[in-house]
């Protein structure tokens, strides 16, 4: 029954968010707070154990901090250098955000064009897939040769790393609309453009946000990557320099900051989603409460 009900509105089928889905047990019946609690506690416990074991092992085996510093030292030294690290993090964030903005614009343009032209779709999609097999690490240095070491090549690297999942998400989202909905709209007198605006676009939004979520975690890493290859500032450069200065502790501190940054951006997408497509949230909530 439920299945029938759910798939009945073809256009509204919920996309699968691999991450969000994997994180949360599928059928939750418990209220939010308790759920959060149950979700957070085990990870924190495991994390604490890992960190404790690391600390103890490193200290007892007297591993040199250049090779592997204890977590306490990472935090301590990272804290001592917090202003420098934050400054670099700011630069990275700028690259991430501008690059991601470019990525979004490009992805939307490609996805919408593809949606309107089946020939383009068949022509472009395989190329986009193939483009993902190109090792960015090899292209990034060339980018610097081509575009200098300003913001541009870094933005391009971020865009290159992130646009693909967004395009796929959008194209897939647009295609959620099944034949029957198209027929319905056409029977009402709507053409391809109206079909797009009234159906394909709104029904693609949940999938779009799922893709956005996946893409944004790549974005920060992509930015750091681009910086590693050549930059004035940024966490990538910072890590590279600190590594050559034998400061593994500071490298790890910067890694931590990167992870925190990514996770924040990841969580931010939920807030934006809630703002843009509140109906999707309401629906999901109602369904899980059943």
């Amino acid at each position: 029954m439920t299945d029938v009900q759910q798939t009945a509105t073809g256009a509204g089928a919920r996309p699968v968010d691999p991450i969000a889905q994997a994180v949360q047990p599928r059928r939750r019946r418990r209220p939010r707070t308790r759920n959060l609690w149950a979700n957070v506690v085990p990870s924190v416990v495991i994390l604490a154990i890992v960190i404790a074991v690391w600390e103890v092992l490193v200290r007892s085996l007297e591993v040199r901090p250049q090779v592997l510093p204890p977590p306490s030292r990472v935090l301590e030294q990272g804290w001592a250098q917090r202003s420098t690290i934050l400054e670099h993090a700011g630069a990275t964030l700028q690259v991430t955000i501008t690059g991601f903005a470019v990525s979004l614009v490009v992805a939307w343009i490609i996805a919408v064009s593809i949606d309107f032209s089946p020939v383009l779709r068949r022509g472009v999609m395989p190329l986009l897939v193939a483009s993902q097999t190109i090792p960015i690490i090899a292209i990034a240095p060339l980018m610097i040769i081509w575009f200098g070491f300003g913001l541009l090549p870094k933005m391009l690297v971020v865009a290159l790393v992130t646009f693909f999942p967004i395009v796929v998400g959008l194209v897939e989202g647009f295609n959620k609309t099944d034949r029957e909905v198209t027929n319905l709209l056409r029977s009402m007198g709507g053409g391809r453009v109206k079909e797009f605006l009234f159906v394909r676009l709104p029904s693609a939004l949940p999938t779009f946000f799922t893709a956005l979520r996946i893409a944004i975690t790549y974005a920060v890493t992509g930015a750091i990557f681009a910086e590693y290859v050549g930059a004035q500032q940024g966490l990538g450069i910072y890590m590279s320099v600190q590594k050559n200065a034998f400061r593994t502790d500071l490298v790890l501190a910067a890694v931590l900051v990167t992870a925190v940054l990514s996770i924040c951006l990841y969580l931010l997408t939920f807030a934006i989603e809630r703002l843009v497509i509140p109906w999707s949230f309401k629906e999901r909530k109602a369904r899980s409460a059943k």
């Binding site: 050549g230 004035q232 200065a245």
Partner: protein
Amino acid sequence: ACSSDSGSESSAGTTGGSSGSSQPESPTTVRFALDWTPNTNHTGLYVAINKGYFADAGIDVEILPYNNSSPEVLIDAGQAEFGIGFQNQSAVPMAAGADLQSVLAVEQTWTTAISVLASRDDIQSPADLDGLVYGGFGTPAEETTMKAVIQDAGGTGEFESVILGTTAYEALYSGDVDFTVPFIAWEGIEAEHRGVELKNFNYVDYGFPDNYAVIVVGNTTWMQDNPEVAKGFVQAMARGYEDAIADPAGAAAILQEENADVLTDLDFLVESQTMLSEQFMLDDQGQFGRQTQEQWDALGAFLFDSGLLVDADGDPLTEAPDWSQYFTNDYLEG
């Protein structure tokens, strides 16, 4: 033809088939970390490989190509036994307690300079570099070094720095950065060949003591544990470099042969090697490879005074280190 255990006494004329019964069955593997793509700074290594000097010493050399990690980091971590270093660069981690020792001076004097495009009329002295952009390599000492030079020339020492690594020179030629540090005998000649004229500022003209521009660095603990292998290695390498001094053209050809897929322009290699061999590799006594306490002390004092030396926690050193610990001629001579 028989040779002793370490093979250090085998003569230059060895024909290769030297498998004395006393020699260990499998040669010891020694890993050597490069600082850059193969170039004339490395000629001795490739000559020694090519001519079997390492094999004679019972050593199998494994070359670790350049990557984003500096050789010092790899050697300190025990992932390489030896590698290329630079006196002014390697001294920094050494002072911070890295497990490193310099065992061979490949180039006796500065072979790098601060370069700008010759066409830049606005830059007449390092002082004019204030506010400009430096294309850097991500090594710990470089910014401080630049700063010291600029200040000595009367500037403030405030400039921007972009870490580009291997792309730095392209960026200089295309004008994306204003100055960087080429090796005169490598990027210097290369620039000339492609028709780019460079203007150089030499360190010694701006208060810097002299510097072994290229050295070979080893892992101290490992060398102490394997003195014979270390000796065999250093001496074989020295022989390679000595051959290059004696016959730059022949050595250049070997360098090319050993790196056929990257090095194609033999004329360029010969020119570079000739310059190195003739101008930079021998000391006052006409000897190769030896380092002196005076030069280490002088450069060390400069580095210490400039506040560049820090301990493992990043705190500035309070007293000057004992530089005699950081280099040795023992493996070369013993």
